[in-house]
Symmetry: C2
Subunit: 373 residues, 2 copies
């Protein structure tokens, strides 16, 4: 584990690099903006902790009215529950008795729920629950159009829900209908079309459940790219956005700020880096490469430096191109980099460094870093 790159009271420019910065003004704006947008809809926020991996940030969301947190992994749920978060949904399937037992154990200290899309998962949870107190709370995940996980909506989903409801050890609590792919579609119209489909198949499944006498406490879905579509649908009870707190270059490339709710959020996450070599004219090398940033969603951006472009990463280096006529950054100069995909970028770091007006205000651990199991 890396030692902390900063201490409260330091200047941002003295922070050791690479370091994961939160611009606290922008971050707090985002926390508040989400609650303000959701308030008129009456739909709850269950913020996704896969973005931040931190009980500290989870509690800030809950203090503003979030009903709880989502996680993708039992390891993340453990860190949140151990950090005092009381209501956690594993918005995902798990496979393996070891994981099922870890999930059941957490149900003793927090209100837990988990998703299934196959009888296999149901049987596994029943086996784990047999040794635990109370019933484990289970949602059926339907394929809302993303084509990743999730049982076929309609009759198949209803049949699985019935099986859960009939179990001595489990409790059926709702539907998971998250359309991951829709978050990053390039146009508003594509996203609207994708979520219209998700709403339609969710509605059909809810009708089937109702006909079978089954009630949903939770109908969950929605991410930062589409959440107002789900929130206004009249079908979803909870929104699972995560990235809205930080944003990233991929969202920035997609947003039509005139048309979209996501335009209300500001970039609050940065990787602070240092120019470490400048041996060739027109280029510079910074100390943030594949181990400090991510590239599956394209290149990161250099913040507020027109004409300075991140063009090529290696493990620990980032090569910048300096446009002719533009002042090149100096050797030793620190640059803010905008990650192209916030979730996995956070997972590269052990520490958040919170800054306001150029001064470090707080240092928080990324407590669930690396909790992929």
């Amino acid at each position: 584990m890396q030692s902390s790159p900063a201490r409260p009271g330091m200047l941002e420019q003295d922070v050791d690099t690479p370091a994961l910065l939160i611009d606290l003004d922008a971050f707090e704006h985002n926390l508040d903006a989400m609650m303000q947008m959701l308030a008129p809809t009456g739909v709850a926020l269950r913020a996704h902790a896969k973005t931040h991996k931190s009980p500290i940030i989870a509690q800030m969301q809950i203090a503003r009215g979030a009903v709880g947190q989502c996680v993708q992994k039992v390891g993340e749920a453990e860190v949140l529950a151990w950090g005092g978060v009381k209501d956690i949904l594993v918005s995902n399937e798990i496979a393996g008795m070891e994981k099922a037992r870890r999930f059941a154990a957490l149900s003793g200290i927090a209100t837990m729920a988990i998703c299934v899309d196959d009888l296999f998962h149901v049987q596994q949870l029943e086996a784990a629950a047999a040794g635990a107190r109370g019933r484990l709370r289970v949602l059926v995940e339907i394929d809302a159009g993303g084509g990743r996980c999730g049982i076929k909506p309609g009759a198949d989903a209803v049949s699985l829900a019935k099986r859960i409801a009939a179990s001595r050890h489990l409790q059926f609590v709702g539907l998971q209908a998250y359309h991951g792919g829709a978050q990053h579609r390039r146009t508003v119209e594509e996203r609207e079309k994708a979520i219209a489909h998700a709403v339609q198949v969710t509605t059909e499944t809810l009708e089937g459940l109702s006909a079978a006498g089954l009630k949903c406490d939770i109908v969950g879905g929605g991410g930062t790219g589409t959440f107002m579509l789900e929130a206004k649908s009249g079908v979803f009870t909870e929104i699972q956005a995560g990235s809205y707190i930080f944003m990233d270059a991929d969202y920035a490339r997609n947003i039509d700020t005139r048309k979209e709710s996501v335009g209300a959020f500001r970039q609050s996450l940065f990787v602070l880096s240092t120019v470490m070599s400048q041996a060739r004219k027109g280029t510079a090398v910074i100390d943030a490469g594949l181990k400090a940033l991510t590239f599956e969603s394209g290149m990161p951006l250099i913040w507020e430096r027109q004409g300075v472009t991140y063009i090529d990463p290696s493990c620990e280096h980032g090569q910048l191109k300096i446009k002719a006529g533009v002042d090149a950054p100096a050797l030793g100069e620190k640059l803010r980099v905008v990650p192209s995909h916030c979730d996995p970028c956070v997972d590269r770091f052990d520490w958040y460094v919170g800054v306001r007006n150029g001064v470090v205000e707080c240092v928080w651990p990324v407590s669930a870093r690396g909790c992929t199991s």
Copy 2:
């Protein structure tokens, strides 16, 4: 931090996932094979710890004859030095007085050396050395053709070396001439051409240094893809290969095993993963995505499963395509995944799980995980 996914004595198939496996037989073969290949050349191995980030593995390399270790970052050097490694080269420039002071502090407990490619770095190290005991050991990095870091070979490099040699606080110990890009070129011929160029510019610079009365204790370079070319050049004194201990899918896609030394190494690193959902025919979803694997060098491979292909990652999911007519892996089944790029993949995990004949033999921390500063 994630809790350990395994305990010695467990079966591999019971290891919690995703987990970073080392096939110990293949790994030990690789450790030995490198020493056997280098022996006739008389060139030393200074293995690169950016691959493994572990003092445990460093000591295994040193026990077999490696003269020491390379690292890219001071944070990695700290973890190695604190773990008892006595000879460490930071094969890279650093910028920032905080880092320079950390480097100087390490020189009190290990034989340290570091690279520079600009007067800026020299002055910074001098300032840090003023408060330390003894002279800091410095190499001049030349651009051996990679076009990343490194001063222009020849007169410019000699001039910088003279400046170091004249310093009261520094000692000039040699040249760094690593050609990173050459490691991953697609054909033997391209790699031979790249290293011939590196050898040529290194030779020219050595002649200049010699004329100036400056001696090189270290002439370092070479990686897993090209090391025998450097070793046989008569110019290099140390080889800096790292990946050879693990290998990866990117190397595997390039190797001509009939022609190349790198063909002697076996795949020893795997990410063990579990099939967590299988809701749609012809596909399966495993629990290893962007946070457990890397994708900048292409898709990972599924080990020894013909017709099963990793096609699409998301943060915590990997989508597999199952060829028609092939047995699909079962829900809950564990699959070995071959990382496409070993270095950054190791950095995704807190633990190595060493296995032999299907049984867990050891669990080691990835001690310098996340030490990017």
